[in-house]
Amino acid sequence: MKLTIEPLLFELSKPGRSGVELPACDVPVLSISDLLPSEGLRSTLPLPELSEPEVIRHYTHLSQLNYSTDSGFYPLGSCTMKYNPKLNEEVARLPGFARVHPDLPDTAAQGTLEVLYSMQEILAEIGGMDTVSLQPAAGAHGELLGLMLIKAYHDDHGQGQRCLVLVPEAAHGTNPASAARCGYTTVTIKSDGRGRVDMAHLRTLLTENQENVAGLMLTNPNTLGLFEDDIAEICAMIHTAGGLVYCDGANMNALVGRARPGDMGFDVMHFNLHKTFSSPHGGGGPGSGPVGIKSILEPYLPVPQVVKTDGGYRRDYDRPKSIGRIHGYYGSFLCILRAYAYILYYGRERLANIAENAVLNANYIRVQLQNSFDVAYNELCMHECVFTAKRQQRERGVRALDIAKRLMDFGFHPPTIYFPLLVPEALMIEPTETESMETLDSFISAMRQIASEIETDPAIVLSAPHETVVHKLDEATAARKPVLRWREQHK
């Protein structure tokens, strides 16, 4: 069956149609105008009128237009769109977890608290950290918490003048945004010719701003998919300058079970459970961005923290130096639970397979496509690889955007484009560990075909997509003159 654009419920509406027939009213009917003041009343309310099967089909058709990891390959770089195992969903639906009320006393929620306590311990071990707060609701929330902890630490040590956070050019955009939100001024560190932190520039910045550096935020591997091999020295330099080092754990899929940010010298980090640990990502939210810390930051952790005592697990609010609350109740519990199920499913020994296969798959794509598209920094990469379509743009007028659109004709979700910003016409591909060689090969074959079309018939790429329900959108008009809601005259 060919999929088509689904009309809105308003457009499908027929006057007088309804989903349910109510019995005649068996109590005296009062007039609404006798009950409410006239200024609170209106004579028309244009709600759609449909039968039950029409509504069900409408939403089923919409769901069929979805693209997800359940329907196909989703190589969205920097987002780790790995498959979400259905076992996680089964665990999250166990009534004892799904129906637990957040106002239960600790004594009546021991199973839930045990999961939280265990996850604090497990994530601390995976990250090489001393302890973890599971509270943040997403990665950027974790970044904000991490920076608030750094700020609390400096203030507590009479170092409140430290106002600068150093962020490499290749950082995730959320890093400088989180730093600014926390009241810090960000300073950009240049990348060197190898796509890593420019050590000479870092040294200069530290010399110029000696007493003012609060910390450095770094993604490792960085957004080019490259391991920051000077990381131990970078951390040592920041520590010598009196700052702390934050690890953006968004790229943890490259490291999990194999290397630990804590061992590299990081003081604080966040995990993205909705990336690395397979809880749903995106529209299905919520996310979860637990923060791991070294013990120097422990006094400032948000309340409550789950602790284990002789009398069982409990939520500890007695933390005098705490920065306070950052989330109602306790984090995104069902998201944490899914990640817990995922980690236990793999177990300590097999967890490293995740990183190994993620890195292997990314390198397979890099090598198989390096003759078709230029690799931004062509060397062994980690869990993602970045190509540039600069040559295709210059020679054939075909941009990364056009390539991404054309990929949809082959049934694939496009990769991330135009990020990282320091690569012109970037195409950032992250296959994740869950894909088979057959899937990778069919993606590679589609990309090779597009590369050859760019040489022989660029028009077919420039006018893509051709096979999707909607074709190329007029994004400029959509951005300049957005239509944000349906109105009667659109009918």
Partner: protein, 124 residues
């Protein structure tokens, strides 16, 4: 599009056309090409004092939001209000109708720090 020879450029892709002490400012053809279709410009109010290198405003394209920087120091004396309804002028006519602000220069020597057309074209 050939680069007009009567302009000076900053390394952050703003151009200036200097007439006596008034600098008309926009962004280069190269910059608009990199940004893609412009959806919105946020420009300062008339009367704002700017130092060279200060953030002048923002430009949003379908691809990204970028900061604009003042290529010279001075007071904003005019803003191109036509861009409110027609931001595409920045794409269609970057050196003409797509101008953004006019700055009454307080430091005429600023002009000497800018690139001439040939130097800008050779760099970008």
């Amino acid at each position: 599009m050939p680069t007009p020879i009567d302009l000076n450029f900053s390394s952050t892709h703003e151009w200036c056309r200097i007439d006596a002490n008034i600098a008309t400012v926009g962004i280069s053809d190269h910059a608009q090409g990199e940004l893609g279709d412009v959806a919105l410009t946020l420009l300062p109010e008339v009367g704002r004092m700017l130092q060279r290198g200060d953030k002048l405003g923002e430009i949003e394209s379908i691809k990204a939001v970028s900061d604009l920087y003042a290529p010279v120091s001075g007071e904003v004396v005019a803003v191109n209000e036509a861009l409110d309804d027609a931001p595409e002028l920045v794409n269609d006519d970057p050196y003409g109708k797509g101008w953004m602000v006019k700055i009454k220069m307080t430091q005429p020597a600023d002009a000497e720090t800018l690139l001439d057309s040939a130097a800008y074209e050779a760099t970008f």
